[in-house]
Symmetry: C2
Subunit: 336 residues, 2 copies
């Protein structure tokens, strides 16, 4: 029983799901960032021609899903499950896009860790023999997230230096039970960890302990030395959170060297773009991984990558009620 | 490949997950309802000794999970995954309970369909060989839901007759890859369907088409005649929604007779309790199924039950922006 279960919520896929195609779409800020060339579409403005930020986000998600389906040459009628999530209340971007796509829908919420959680779940559904194709997608939108979690952008509130800038964009990928392409080989599901951080302008600090816990459990369960990965990537810890992550991991005897980076630090030029501590949002780790990382694999620059996508599981209400911010980190391994 | 895949998102478990134990807890209204004796705990008030409705809901969820673990004699350290969701923004009840439980966490959002979606996902993880034990749970709280989706209860707004009354409670179940007990044998994942209903005080009408779609797909995929089930149960369509469901299903040539009921109609006495069109909320189908239905199975009164748990995937914001209400229905079969 449970032969694919390696450790505490670490699994090794016996028939690793194939990434048949991806779709990434970003807003104008991200389109001026260092990874711009690796995204399928960079929009000239944030509206997508829609009247509200929420409708724009939904359109981003639908378009990313459409691109992923086209790139993988998989008709949506062949897709068994659509797994999606976003940051908005009641994940309306995901649910409304599921109405459009008409694929049986599994809605997930993992905040900015959604892309890794969805990919792990999709992989289990495929490797378990329950499906041939699964579409995984997630989205975020700066304006929609700001007005939900912080302030309406019209107020032009100055961001703190520890704040992160929500990525406008969406990432989607089609996972297949067979075929050619990079594969998802391992997954480690995260525990929710909360060391008492209450500052919603410092989510990196709130998420770092969960990322470190998942990373350390992953390397212990798999027996993989950190240097077996060409790249170890945290979801969106930003500048402060990634330093904390490295320190926590170092305390446990693991000194991360040149093969570590953070999606939130990669998507923007944090020196010239005014993004505080870096990027965040469901789209951050999704577009960096599904766009940039997979293109680097195509180019032969990367072979084996560990992504630990991180999420801060607060709500505006939990914050107002004085609760601290629980964090989570979900890990997947992609190999070519 | 995909031998357990029977039709479009209908699956047959080859090693059907066993329901090793359940936990159900409800508020005072539900404790005066017709199913009161079948719940593990009925609370004298809605607070659980907490200051806010949101904290009370979280406590309900944690207690239901605790009871399910005790009843199944499974220590939480043995549980591989905790799958949970609720109605609140960013599913804070689920996420905060996951912090308490410290079990690797998969957060899901399916509104009131969560119990069936979580059970289906947990079943796939077990039958796929990725885990030995999965804990599935969900919750809702009348006061927390009212103030988030409608009005603060202090305003004492009169409910419409088509409105449903959110169940205060939580349901949890431990699924195991082996052992004795009732088993989850089939699952059909729902598509998101929206026929344009915009009345948030008539969610039953918004969800009925999705429930009918899932039901008809389920019987077509499985070849099960509706009378092979001792009970066909919709999630929480209420009086109006369940009439619509029956009419839609009849249009497709399937005349449901005495073996059909709706969780929202069962949990309250809709004649004497002032609950509008019936009960709703994630806890509604969860406590009726995990509590009442499984106890009826123990008593030998039911052998094979089809649950189609339904969810209305609106948010307060999507409603304010004039969007219609997408619905979803997820089906599972439980057999003893």
């Amino acid at each position: 029983m449970a032969s694919k279960k390696i450790g505490k919520a670490t699994i090794k896929f016996t028939n690793p799901p194939v990434i048949a195609g991806t779709g990434t779409i970003v807003g104008p800020m991200e389109g001026r960032g260092p990874l711009a060339d690796d995204f399928d579409v960079a929009l000239p403005d944030m509206t997508c021609g829609e009247k509200t930020a929420e409708r724009s986000e939904r359109k981003l998600l639908e378009q990313a899903a459409q691109i992923a389906l086209e790139r993988s040459s998989v008709d949506k009628s062949m897709v068994d499950y659509y797994i999606a999530g976003d940051l908005l209340n009641q994940i309306i971007s995901a649910s409304f896009s599921a109405r459009q796509l008409a694929i049986p829908f599994l809605g997930v919420y993992g905040a900015c860790s959604t892309c890794a959680m969805g990919t792990a779940l999709g992989g289990m559904i495929l490797d378990g023999g329950f499906a041939n194709y699964v579409l995984v997608a997630c989205s975020s939108h700066y304006q929609a997230a700001e007005r939900q979690f912080r302030y309406p952008i019209e107020l032009n509130i100055k961001h703190k230096t520890t704040s992160q800038y929500t990525v406008t964009g969406a990432g989607a990928l089609v996972l297949a039970s067979s075929g050619e392409g990079p594969r998802v080989t391992w997954a480690t599901t995260g525990k929710v960890i909360d060391l008492g951080v209450k500052d919603q302008c410092n989510l990196g600090a709130a998420m770092a302990p969960a990322a470190a816990d998942t990373f350390l459990r992953h390397v212990a369960d798999t027996g993989h030395a950190p240097d077996t990965y060409d790249l170890i990537l945290t979801g969106d810890l930003g500048s402060l959170g990634s330093e904390l992550f490295k320190a926590l991991v170092k305390d446990a005897g693991c000194n991360l060297q040149g093969n570590y980076n953070d999606c939130g630090l990669m998507i923007f030029d944090t020196k010239t773009q005014r993004v505080g501590a870096g990027g965040s949002g469901c789209a951050c780790s999704a577009v960096v991984t599904f766009g940039h990382v997979l293109k680097q694999m195509e180019r032969g620059k990367l072979k084996k990558v560990l992504l630990i996508a991180t999420g801060a599981l607060l709500s505006p209400l939990s914050f107002q009620q004085g609760e601290s911010i629980p964090g989570v980190g979900h890990a997947i391994v992609i190999e070519r």
